[in-house]
């Protein structure tokens, strides 16, 4: 995706993209996975899943995670992840 397109992405679009990724890779249907489903506490993603999500977010949105960013607060649910990505993109603008 064009970096300009990514950096101007609305938070809702970011959220939808993350939603789609999780649905495709973790066998969810849209009405099961909500924006506040706890990704770490339930049976949603395991440690390998976190590694893959980081890679997906970095390649899809062009943002770069630091070790400190990969924490339970940012990875709690789709809302927190989207907010983090949106914040990173804002910084890059």
């Amino acid at each position: 995706m064009d970096p300009k397109q990514v950096s101007s992405m609305e938070p809702t679009e970011i959220k939808q993209k993350i939603h789609r990724y999780l649905e495709d890779n973790y066998s969810y249907q849209a009405n099961e996975l909500t924006d506040t489903t706890d990704l770490l506490d339930g049976y949603v993603i395991d440690s390998l899943g976190i590694i893959q999500i980081v890679m997906f977010l970095e390649t899809s949105f062009g943002c770069e995670f630091n070790a400190n960013d990969v924490n339970a607060d940012n990875f709690k649910n789709i809302n927190t992840l989207s907010e983090f990505v949106a914040g990173q993109l804002k910084k890059d603008r």
Partner: protein
Amino acid sequence: MSENLFSDLLLSKNEKDLGQPAVLLENYTFTYADIIHLIRTAAVYIGSKENLTGKRIILCMPNGPEYIIAFFAITALGGIVVPIEPRTGQQRIRIIIEQTKPIFILCTDSLKFSSDIPVIKFVIDYSLKKIRNHDGSTNIQSENLPGLETPALILFSSGSTGSPKGAILTHRQLLKIANTLSEIIGMDCFHREYLIAPLTHSGGLQRVTSTLLRGGCLVFPSSLISIPTLINDIEKFSINGFFSSPPMIKMLLKTPPDRIKNKALNLKSIEIASAPLTSSEISKLLELFPKANVFFQYGLTECSRALILDSRKHPDKLHTVGKPTDGVQVKIADATGNRMPIGDQGEIQLKAEQLTGGFWNNSDEYRSKIKHGWFSTGDIGTEDDEGFISYCGRVDDLINCGGNSYFPAEVEIEVKDLPGIKDYMVAGVPDPQDILTQIPWIFIVPTNPDTWDMLSFRSHLHKSLPSHMMPRKIVIVPKIPLTDSGKPSRKLAIKLYGPKTSEQHGTN
């Protein structure tokens, strides 16, 4: 003093060693003296509940100092550790509990499953270096420690009928692997080991025993495990070695080299296991970490580190899984147990000191694995004229998802009694992203496709299965294909309904 894990790995340290760091976590450092004191304290805390000799205790906790302390305290008291990953599926947990009849479950957090077995919370206050809710008294008399032949661990691996089987490993066998591994890797008292593999598996646990044997230091990740965390911690903690499954390595190889450059100056070795990597991937890894060696190990839950490839020493053998380690014998056998000629495919069979002597409460299953005195691995391989073994695949339908191996039956057992399903089949299909080796798909023949409730079905699986067993695709099919002899065929199902043609068959 008898020989055992606690005495050989920890009590044998001299005065100087005791002041050395044994465990690093965030800003906390635990010296060998701290660790020994905590194990002694834990032995009172855990052992005051009941005499542990020969008893099974479930350890259900994530990686952390608690796991290490509890493991050594239980085994020092003659107890047998049964590890369960906190995210293990309900059915598997039920079977493990039924088979091992543990006296209690030790955990750090609330359990995600219900059980009648007593649960004991075991949490360490890192700053005070004390066990929470315990007065701090210590125990373990050296003369009462268990001997080398005492079982220390029951590790559950996949079972072809859907029921996992518990490989029993003694103190001697765990020490043997620690000796072999630490020698091959070249660990010493300066070694800093980065622990990212689960300690509930032999892959991770034996890195702990190997490091402690040589007086090295164990380092836990500073945050959730990811490639940025790995790169950061390798630099920050001057890491010398780590063990990983191939998915992590594959993602590491996709990382821009600039992000890694000059960050791994002290990294000396990477050990990889659980799923195949191509020789080109190993070559790339060697280029990415020019100062480090890459060791590829072939082993099973029943026989860890049976073969190891030293890739710097044998750059022309990167397509193999190496040669037998000390004391291990390998045979490539035909169906009648005869050794195959060099280069011909056959089943990989093993004899080894570290090979389990049996499955807990399941001697029939163990007997079925022993063929003419050799342990049958279910893996297909070849041997070359220099004794290097190549892995060629499986004789059965074992699924390898991200280094986690299990049989389709372990997923199918969750489906068999559900309403509205006429027939079903689970199979491992190649991961289109080439990260996890295989991913599970499920083919379903509903009794009535128009009314079948896929949402409830999916929810049920979610609650019952761990992430690596959760089918990534649910494919509605008209029927499960059969072989000429009338048996359900996974190969045919994948060919007919697998990734390429799935869109035509109601994939979602």
